[in-house]
Structure formats: C-alpha cells, structure tokens
Symmetry: C2
Subunit: 341 residues, 2 copies
DNA sequence: TTCGATTTTGAATACGTATTCAAAATCGAA
DNA sequence: TTCGATTTTGAATACGTATTCAAAATCGAA
C-alpha cells in the first residue's frame, strides 16, 4: 500500500511537485488550466495531503491536548464534548489523555503531548504536587490552561469557579432548611479546587456558630464504590447527618445510591447537594440540587482562551485568569431537615 | 522560542546528529561514555524528541482515531474511557472526533484523521448512507473497525451486539409482566444497530400475536428534548402504553424524566427498559432495567482488534466480525402491568 | 514585431528525525 | 608492536511537504 505523494501527482499531471503544492494551498498565481489538471489527478488518485509532513515544515500541528481525570464522569464528558466540537470548528483536533486521576500519568501525558507537538494543553484536575512542573511549562512559553483547577502561583493560566463561594452557597441553603448536621464528601485534597470547597464548607459552618466535626468529612479518591460505602456507613450511624454536600454531581449520585439502598427517602430523610450541574442533574426523575459551574460557558471559554494563547504568542506575557461565579440551583434533593434524625 | 533539536544537542555534546539519534533509540553499540555525555546534554537542555518528524521517517504515528456520535452520552463516554486508557498502555494516542450524529461530519472526520495519518479508526454510529465510503476505505487496506454498528456488506470489520435479540429479550420480559401496549423509542433508522432493535421489537410482538401500532414507535434523533416531549405527549393519551422500550439508556433517562414530570410512578404506572447498561443504570436510585452490551468487553475488544489490524497488515485480508450476546438485566424500572391504564 | 512588465512555473532547499554505508577507532591474539 | 576483526561514529540521504529564488512564458503597448 504505497502512499500517494505530491511527487506522484506531479509526475502524472506533468508538472513539478511545487506546482502541486501550490494547488493544495490555493496559491493565486496559477493558470486555471494547470490547476484543473492537477486537481483532476488528485481526485483520480484519491490523494490526501500528509499533514504530518506539512506540520514539520509549517511548524504547526493544529492540534491541542486535553488531559482529563476521568472522561466517564459526566462533568468531564460534557466538558470534552463542548471543547472538541468547538475545536473542530476552528480546525483543531484534540488528543485526549485520561489520567484516571493518577499523578504519574499526568507527567507522562504532558510529555507525550509535547512530543506530539500539540500547540497547547487544557489540563483538568491538576494536583498541587505538580505546581512546579506546570509553572516551568508555562514559563517556557508553552500555552497551558488549567480548567476547573488552579495553582497557588501568579504566573499560570486558569479558568475556575469560585469554589469557596460555591460551597458556602450550598451550606447556607442547607442551614436555612434547618439542617444542623451536614456531612461533606470531598475529593482528594491535593486538588485545590475541591480543597477550596471543603474550606468554604468549614468557614460557612464556623461563621454560623457550628463546630467542625471531622468525622463528617470524607476525603476520598474519585471512586464511586468508596464513596458509596463510606456514605452507607455514615448513614447507618445513630447520629447520622441529615444533609450531605458532595464535591461533584457524580459523587452526589453515589450518595443518592447509598441512601436509596438504605431506604432513606430524599429529601424527606436526607438532603443532598452536588456540584457541577451536569445535564442529568436537571432530569426530573433525579432533580439534583447543585452548584452550577456554568459548564458550557467554562469549557468554551477555556478553549477560546487557549486558542488565543496559541495564536498570539507574543501577547502571552500576561496570564489569563478567569473566575466564574457559582450559582445555587435548587431542585428536589434538598428539603427541610427531618424533625429528628 | 526556538525549538531544541538533535542537531543542537549534538553540537553541545560534541558528537554528530546521528549519534544523538542513536542514543534516543537505545542503539546498543555505543560507548557508555558517549551515551552518558549525550544524555546529560539532553537533560540539561530539556530536549524532547519531535515525534512529528519521527513519524515522517518511520511512517508510523502511533495514533488512532475515535469517531463518536456524542461523547456526552454515557455509553460513548464509558466506551471512550476504556479505549483511551488501553490505548495509552499500548503507547498509542487517541484523536477524538465528535460528529454530533451529523452525517456530513462523519465524512469530514474521516478525511481529517486520514490526513493526520492515524493508523486506524474506530467508528461508532455509522449511518448506512456511508456504506460505500467505509467499504472503499476498508478495501484500500486501511484499518477501520465499526463499533456498536455494522453494515450490510461482507468485507468490513465490526463488533456489535445482536441487537435484534436484545430487543426481543426486552419485549419478552415486558410481555411476561402482562404489558400489552409497549411503545418503542428508537434512534434514527439510518443506524442499522438501532434499526435492528426496532425490527426485533416488531418481530417479537408479532410472534406473540400482537399487531404493530406505528403510533407507538418514535424514530428520533438522539435529542433529549425531542424524546422528552414525544414521551410526554404519548403518556398523556387516554390509551397510553404501560411500558416503553428505549433505544438506549440515555433515552430511557429522558423517558423517566417525562414520566416523572407527569407524576407517573415507575414501575407502578409505567415500565421502562433501556439499552446499553451504562454504569448509572445500576445506581439503586435509578435502577434501570436494561439490555447489557458488555461495554467494557466490547470496547476493549474493539481496541485490541484494531491494534491487531494495524500491526498485522498482511493478515488483514480476512475481516474481523464479532457478535456479542445481549443480556437482560432486570432492575427496578419494570414491574407488572397496571390493572388498567 | 519588439521589449519591458507581469504572470506562471520549476529546481533547490528546509523542516527534524532515523538509517545506510563507510570510515575511524579500538581490541585482542600472536 | 602488528594486523585482522570488531566496535563505534559520522556524512549523506530519505521521509513528504511548503517556499524561496530565479528562469521561462505570456502579455500589452508601441
């Protein structure tokens, strides 16, 4: 299966390789006759330009990398869809790397993508263990954008919601409903974004005169099973919480699952609040109360900022830092605290 | 930001470019001294090999394309995750294209991926309008594998469940529960996989002595909203169905949503069966009765077959055609037909 | 028809790597 | 020490494209 090259086309069309290349690139100064002849041969042979070779000479690949914790999590899946579709419109393609939330993979992912000469990377779920690595990458002038996460340093691009505020909104909502024992299912604290949510939760409670009960806080991997079993254990206790604030909608679903398996009614027996506002949350069958991340807006902005960074490298001296406002969306999984738990 | 090349490394290390290249490729016949010197410089400069240039000379890109209808659909998201993770282990990267179920995009996706010189493509949701195109691609020796879809021709690779059988299992289950009016929410009939499900549904009903009521069949785009509103209209009728068989779990969720908005209880008032067995279906809060596609198995097999095709091009004269057996998984969304609807 | 200006084309080269072929360096046995 | 065999290295080239630079072809006005 020999590849067909511009050289082959040229030979058959009786022109030079440069001429074929010019046709491919819509070079204006050409005789219509020549162009047509070349196009005919291209069509006949089914020639497709080798973008790899082209990338080499143009020093552009028109591809970007998307590093994701777990694409089966709807939050990431919806994010990926928005980013991919917009990228396609802009004629960029997207190489996805799924880290499974493992730090080692992050390092490998970045190296692989740089090797493949992607022109920029969108990075979700960056653990703070990688602050240095990211900073170095950014300082080298390579376009990186943190999505739904940030690092505690000045010079790095990110787009993130005010997670602290988001958690506070959720806690306020639950307190207003009369809940006094509110548990928090949190992601690993190495992710600053989820860490912030836990901080916000604690601050809001303290400011309202509540003690922090560390037994009500679970710092977990993003593992459905572990959250499920922790929640179950938690809810079996005599002094069980009457409300649970999960670090994501995905986690909230695991909580609902656990509650359901114990025949606890939501929201009569237990209130649940998620984070993200994935599409499924709006499903009336579920009706998850949650904190909206404005995902569509966030993902599209992320892509567009990244492309901006790619196409305006000179301007990249200043960093792009976008904060989004959280919004509480009340649905059916939260209600007044039960009279007695 | 000038790129660092093997040439640069060579100059500083005081060796030739070929020598640097040999170090990168673990060429055995080298003086330890030379190798160490080169490695030191590579490290110092932070050199990373340009895989684009390498691809050009090696005539291999080690990347594959994954064309997907809509990655925000959990069925595809879970599929993508499994495929991406396994591909990573095998040192392949994955370029994802999201068609939004639009035929035009399929054509563009294939051309783009071929241009990028992916070594093979996994194709989900192929409409039968593209039979010719796919066949031509396959016949040219390019590794293509249809996932969860097939075409009615001999020479093409696919992995697919027996969809007809799957639909029959679902209908059998519902008939056994006493349902007499079973609606079918189907995907577009241009997809043979979903089309087969509708055929199976009809056949099973006929063989059990029921007439086919075309008003109970909805051939829809994969649009949540349209399914939602169709179902709502359907369920408001006086002679409404007591059970609905959806063409996917995603669609089943829209059905549950509609039912919930009408205050219909599942399964007391309405039974719902999905297709796919996405993870969420097992959530006890939802407990969706569905037909399992053995997604993990299907996606891993797909990837491995594709890699096989890539790495054994000679052997590709025979096609790979895998059929999987459907399995009915009964959960909580199906129950006995209500005494009278 | 002629000649300067303009349009159109081709030869040569570069992009960054891997590999072939040959030469240089090293080794070991006598 | 010498010389054939072996190990190690470098120069040249190729992968498939885009582009520069210069030459060839064409045009239009006189």
């Amino acid at each position: 299966m020999k590849r067909i090259t511009t050289e082959d086309v040229a030979k058959i069309a009786g022109v030079s390789q440069s001429t074929v290349s010019r046709v491919l690139n819509d070079y204006p100064y050409m005789k219509k006759n020549t162009r047509d002849k070349v196009l005919a041969v291209i069509n006949e042979l089914g020639f497709t330009r080798d973008e790899i070779a082209r990338s080499l000479v143009e020093k552009r690949t028109k591809s970007i990398g998307l590093i994701i914790g777990s694409i089966s999590n709807p939050f990431f899946a919806e994010t990926a869809e928005a980013i991919i579709e917009r990228a396609q419109e802009l004629k960029y393609d997207v190489i996805i790397y799924n880290t499974g939330h493992k730090d080692e993979n992050l390092e490998q992912a970045i190296n692989l993508l740089i090797g493949k000469r992607v022109e920029g990377i969108i990075l979700t779920s960056v653990s703070k263990n990688y602050t240095e690595k990211i900073k170095k990458l950014h300082d080298s002038g390579f376009p990186v954008l943190l999505y739904n996460s940030f690092l505690d340093i000045k010079d790095v691009n990110f787009i993130v919601m005010d997670n602290n505020k988001g958690a506070r909104l959720a806690v306020q909502h639950l307190l207003k409903l009369g809940h006094k024992k509110i548990a928090k299912i949190s992601g690993p604290s190495k992710y600053l974004a989820t860490y912030e949510r836990t901080i916000g939760y604690k601050q809001e409670l303290r400011e309202n005169g509540y003690e922090i009960d560390e037994d009500l806080i679970f710092n977990s991997e993003f593992s459905y099973d572990r959250i499920y079993s922790f929640t179950k254990k938690l809810l079996k206790k005599n002094d069980r919480p009457t409300a649970i604030l999960a670090a994501s909608d995905q986690m909230a679903l695991a909580v609902l699952d656990a509650a359901s398996s114990l025949n606890l009614k939501v929201p009569e027996d237990l209130s649940v609040v998620g984070f993200d506002n994935i599409r499924l949350a709006a499903n009336e069958f579920i009706g998850l109360t949650t904190i909206s991340q404005q995902m569509d807006h966030m993902s599209l902005t992320a892509l567009e900022k990244l492309i901006y960074l790619i196409e305006n490298k000179e301007a990249s001296s200043s960093s792009i830092q976008v904060f989004l406002k959280p919004e509480l969306i009340v649905r059916k999984t939260t209600g007044p605290a039960p009279i007695q738990a």
